[in-house]
Amino acid sequence: MPTAADYADKIPNNVGLQEDLRLQRALESWQPNFLNWWDSMGPALPARDVYLRTAVNVGREGWAQFGHVAMRDYRWGIFLAERDPGRVIGFGEHKGEPAWTKVPGEYRSELRRLLVVQGDTEPASVEQQRNLGATAPSLYDLRNLFQVNVEEGRHLWAMVYLLHAYFGREGREEADDLLRRNSGSAESPRILGAFNEETPDWLSFFMFTYFTDRDGKYQLGTLKESAFDPLSRTCEFMLKEEAHHMMVGTTGVDRIVERTAALMVEHDTDDAGPYGAIPLFVIQKYLNFHYSVSLDLFGGETSTNVANYYTAGLKGRWMEDRRADDHKLTDDGIWVDALVDGELAQTEVPALTGLNSDLRREYIADCQGGVSRWNKILAQAGLPQRLKLPHVAFNRKVGAFAGIEATPDGALLPAGEWERRQGEWLPTDVDKTHVRSLMRPVRERGKIAAWIAPPRHGINGRPFDFEYVHLA
C-alpha cells in the first residue's frame, strides 16, 4: 500500500487524496483493474515511451508538462477546476441556492446514471482506437493518438473519482463495471451504440475526434453547469483536454484535405484516389457518416429525462450563464424538428422537454466551423469543390427522423431508393477498402504517409522530425 506521500506523486491530484482514506481505499482496489484493462484493451502497438503531456496540477504551468513516459506509467491524475466557494446554482428549481458540495440523496440515482453514461464513453474510445497504432502515418500522429488515449483514460479516472468519492458502495460497483463493459463486446457492450463501432482507419479517427468527441464536449459543457459542484469542476477541467482532442481531429482532416487538394491540382483531376490520396468525395462520405451518427448521440428531440435533469439542477444548457431567460423555462417553448404530415418540419414543445434539441443546435453550429476551415483549404488551392454538413434528417437512427430516409440535401426518399443510393453518400465497401489500403505505417522520424500532409507545427515547439515515440 502506498504511503501518503506516494499518493501525490503517483496520482497527481487536487482533491486531498492524501487525507481521504475512503477514496484511497477505493482507488487502491480499482487501480490494478484499470491497469489490467489498459494492458488488455488499451493501445495494442507496443511503445517504449511516448512524448506526452501530463497534468500535474490545474494551474497554467501544471496542466501541460511534457516528457517521454511509458504509457503504463502515465500519471493518471485527478483534477477539478478550482473551487469557487460562492458558486450558486444557475438554473432549475434550485436556482440561486448554494451549489452542492455533496450529492443530495434525492438525486443520487440520477447523478450516478449521468456519471456512468459519461464515464462509459471515455474508456470506450480507447478500446475503439486500440488497433490504430499499427497504421499511424507518422510518429507525430502516433503520439497524438496515444495522447488522446491517455487523456481519455484520465477522464475515466475523473468519473471514477466522482463515483468513489460521492456514491459509496454503489459508486464503487459502477466504477468496476466501467472496466467490465467493452466496446463491441457481445456480452457486455458499451452503453451508447456509437461507442461500440471500431475505428478502423485514420480518416475515421480524425472524423471521430472532430465530430464525436465534440458531442462529448457539449455533454461535458452541460454537466459543467451542474449544481453538484464536484461534477461541475471536474467537467470544466476535462473540457480543456477535450479541446485538444478536437484539435487533433480538425488538423488531421485539414492535412488530408490539403494533400488531396494538392494532388487534384497537380493532376488536374476530381479523383485523387489513383494518386495515393483519399478522394474528396470519400472524405465527404466519411463526414456524412460521422456527423449523422454523432447527431444521434444527442438523443430524441424531446426528452422528459433531460427536462427533469434540468429542473433538478443536474444538467444545464450549453453556456447557461449567457442565456437571457429565467433559467427555469417552465413557461417557455422551443421549436424542434419533427415529421409533420410526412414532411420534414418543426413543431413547438415546452422548452424543458426540448433541451436535447437546444444542445444539438449548438453542436451543429460548432461543427460548421471545421467545414468552413476545410473549404478554405480547397479555395486556397484554387479548387471549386466544397465539403458540407448533410441535412439534419440524413441517416438518422434516433429522434424524429429515425423512421424516414433523406438525401444530404434534405429531400425525402422512399426506402427502396435509399437502399439503392445510400452508397452515393455513405462510405461503401469499395471506399473503405481504398482508405484501408492507404493505411500503411510510417515509423521513421520525419517521414509521413503519402495520403496526408505533414503538420505545420510539432508538439510543444518540437519539430516534426522529433522522435515523439520510441517503439518497443
Binding site: 440523496g105 434525492e106 443520487r108
Partner: protein, 554 residues
C-alpha cells in the same frame, strides 16, 4: 396532526377521564361510555349521542391498558353506556367531515389498534369483554361491540345494531366492522351485505338469528342477565385472584419542538431532513430475581410504555417526519438478562402482560406509515426484545467493524437472536418477524434460529439475511445520509403503500385485512369526490341535501 398548533397527548388516567366511567367490582369491571358533548379534542363539533373522537378513544385505550396491569383480579369487562337512550353512535361525523385526510387515517388506525387491544386482552390476557348494548349501537359503536367476546342487545323494539356508513355517508365502517361481521361472527355474506346497506340496522330476535349479536334481552331482565353473563365469562379466566397489580405511574416525558425524551427512549426531530432519530436505551440495572420484583420501573415495561407513547406522539403530531431511524444503546448482556427472565416466567400473568404489551407496541410500529431504518452501531444492544425493532424496520444498516477516532471505544456492533424472537412477539399476520422476513424460506429461518444466543457482527448478520447493508466506518455516514435523503424525497403516499405491502408477507388474518384491505379501500374512498367532494355524501350529511354521485364505477 398538530395543524392547528396544539399537540395531542396520549397520556391520561381514570381520575382525568371525561368520557368514561370505570368501576371495578371484584372480578367484573364496568366500563361505561358517557361522552361529554362539549369535550371534543378540537373545536367545531359536539359529541352527541356518545359519538366519539380521538380524545374519547385515548381514554378507552388507557382504561383497557390499566385494567390489564392494575387489576389482575378483573376477569370480565362489561362495556356499556351510561346514557339512557344510546350505546354509542360511532365516530363523530362532523369531526370526520371537517378533518384533513391524514387525521382521519391516523384516527382510524388508533381506534383499530385499541379494538385489537381489546381482543388481545380477551384472547391472551384472560379478560373477557362483554358488550352490553343498552341502546342503539351504530357504526363505530357497533364496531366497538364487535371487538368484544359476547354481544348482548337490549330488546326494546328500538335498539338496533347498524353499520350505516355506506348508505348514509358514502364511506365504509372504518374500524373492522366489515371484517369482523364475517370473519369473527360468521354472519353470512348476503345477510352482511343487506345489513350494511340498511341504515337503520337490525335489532331484536333477527339480530341474534343473523349472529350480529349473541343474545337479545328484554329491559326488565337486562341487569340480571348482564351480571349472569359477566360471571360466566369470568369463570373461564386463568387470571390470579390474589395478585397485586402494577400501577401505571405517569411517564417522565419532556417534549419540545425538536426532541421527545423519556427515561429510556429519546427522539431527535429533524424537521429539515424530515426524519426522527429514535434511540432506545437498554436497561440500566440488573433484572429482578423473579416476577414479584416487577413494578412500573421494570425496564421492559417502562421502555415499552415510552416507546408506545412516542410512536403515538410522532404519528399524530409529526406527520412531516416521514423517516424514523431506530437505534439502541446499552449493555447487550443486560438486555439478554431481561430476555432470560421474560422467557423463563412467560406463563406468569404479569410477565405475560409485559410481553403482550411489547407485542402490541411492536405491531403499532408495523402499521406505522413511516419509513423505518434501523442503524446498528457499536454500543448498541439489538438483542431479543430490542432486535424486534431492527426486524420491524424496512431496511437496516449494521456497521462492519468499529468507528475510529476519539470518543469511539465500543467494539463492533453485534445483534443477538433469542427465544423471544421466534414466536412470542408475533406480527398482525400471526407470524414472528423472523418467520415473516424469511417467509417461504424455511432453510434460511432455521439457520437463523440455529444462531440463537450468538452475538452476530455485521458480516455474520448479513450472511444470515438479518441486516440489509453493512458499510464500514469509512462509508457509514455517507451511506446513511444518502439513504435517508433519498427516502425523504420519494412520494410519501407511494412509500406508505409499498411499506405496508412488504411488511406483511404471508398469511392474512383479521388484523392484516383490517390494516390492509379495509384501510386501503377506506382511504381511497376518503379521497374520492363521492365522499369528500363538495357534493359528496360525507359533506352533505346533516345538511338536508342529497349527495350527488359520479355514477361511474371504476
Amino acid at each position: 396532526m398538530g395543524d392547528d398548533g396544539e399537540r395531542v397527548s396520549f397520556q391520561t388516567c381514570p381520575e382525568q377521564y371525561r368520557h368514561w366511567r370505570l368501576r371495578v367490582d371484584g372480578e367484573v369491571a364496568t366500563l361505561a361510555m358517557d361522552v361529554a358533548e362539549d369535550g371534543g379534542l378540537r373545536a367545531g363539533y359536539e359529541l352527541k349521542l356518545n359519538s366519539y373522537d380521538l380524545g374519547v378513544d385515548i381514554e378507552l385505550h388507557d382504561a383497557v391498558q390499566r385494567l390489564r396491569f392494575e387489576h389482575p383480579a378483573v376477569r370480565t369487562v362489561v362495556l356499556t353506556s351510561a346514557k339512557d337512550k344510546v350505546f354509542c353512535a360511532g365516530a363523530n361525523i362532523k369531526m370526520l367531515a371537517s378533518s384533513p385526510h391524514s387525521w382521519k387515517v391516523n384516527f382510524c388506525k388508533f381506534t383499530n389498534e385499541t379494538r385489537n387491544g381489546i381482543e388481545d386482552a380477551s384472547e391472551h390476557g384472560g379478560q373477557a369483554y362483554l358488550a352490553a348494548l343498552n341502546g342503539p349501537a351504530s357504526g363505530g359503536g357497533y364496531e366497538l361491540a364487535l371487538a368484544c367476546d359476547y354481544l348482548m342487545l337490549v330488546d326494546d323494539r328500538s335498539s338496533m345494531v347498524s353499520l350505516p356508513e355506506l348508505p348514509l355517508l358514502g364511506v365504509l365502517p372504518g374500524t373492522g366492522g366489515l371484517t369482523r361481521v364475517t370473519d369473527k361472527r360468521h354472519v353470512r355474506k348476503d345477510l352482511a351485505d343487506y345489513f350494511s346497506t340498511k341504515s337503520e340496522g337490525v335489532g331484536g330476535a333477527r339480530a341474534a338469528a343473523w349472529k350480529l349479536v349473541d343474545e337479545v334481552v328484554p329491559r326488565s331482565k337486562w341487569d340480571e342477565a348482564v351480571a349472569a353473563r359477566a360471571a360466566e365469562l369470568a369463570a373461564g379466566s386463568a387470571r390470579p385472584a390474589d395478585a397485586t397489580g402494577v400501577k401505571l405511574t405517569p411517564l417522565c416525558k419532556e417534549r419540545t419542538d425538536d426532541a421527545i425524551s423519556y427515561r429510556y427512549v429519546r427522539a431527535e426531530l429533524d424537521h429539515d431532513r424530515r426524519a426522527a432519530a429514535i434511540t432506545v436505551r437498554g436497561p440500566d440495572r440488573e433484572p429482578p430475581a423473579g416476577p414479584e420484583g416487577i413494578d412500573a420501573d421494570f425496564w421492559p415495561l417502562a421502555m415499552t410504555r415510552e416507546l408506545d407513547d412516542l410512536i403515538l406522539d410522532l404519528r399524530t403530531n409529526e406527520t412531516g417526519l416521514g423517516i424514523w431511524t431506530l437505534r439502541t444503546q446499552g449493555d447487550l448482556a443486560l438486555v439478554l438478562a431481561y430476555d432470560k427472565l421474560l422467557l423463563e416466567y412467560r406463563e406468569n400473568w404479569l410477565v405475560k402482560e409485559v410481553l403482550l404489551y411489547a407485542k402490541r407496541t411492536l405491531k403499532r410500529l408495523d402499521v406505522t406509515s413511516r419509513s423505518l431504518i434501523a442503524l446498528i452501531e457499536p454500543g448498541s444492544c439489538f438483542a431479543g426484545l430490542l432486535l424486534e425493532l431492527a426486524l420491524a424496520a424496512d431496511r437496516s444498516f449494521q456497521l462492519d467493524g468499529v468507528f475510529t477516532g476519539t470518543g469511539h471505544v465500543a467494539g463492533p456492533a453485534a445483534i443477538t437472536v433469542t427465544g423471544l424472537n421466534t414466536g412470542l412477539l408475533p406480527m398482525g399476520n400471526g407470524l414472528s418477524r423472523l418467520a415473516t422476513r424469511f417467509f417461504g424460506d424455511k432453510k434460511a429461518l432455521d439457520l437463523v434460529i440455529g444462531q440463537v444466543g450468538t452475538a452476530l457482527t455485521a458480516r455474520a448478520a448479513a450472511g444470515l439475511g438479518l441486516v440489509t447493508f453493512t458499510p464500514d466506518a469509512l462509508d457509514w455516514d455517507e451511506e446513511v445520509r444518502i439513504a435517508i435523503e433519498e427516502r425523504a424525497s420519494f412520494s410519501p403516499d407511494a412509500l406508505t403503500g409499498m411499506e405496508a405491502n412488504y411488511r406483511f408477507a404471508g398469511p392474512e388474518t383479521m388484523e392484516t385485512k383490517i390494516f390492509g384491505r379495509l384501510t386501503a379501500w377506506q382511504n381511497w374512498i376518503f379521497n374520492r369526490p363521492n365522499a369528500v367532494g363538495p357534493d359528496g355524501a360525507l359533506r352533505k350529511y346533516g345538511t338536508g341535501q342529497r349527495a350527488d354521485f359520479d355514477r361511474n364505477r371504476v
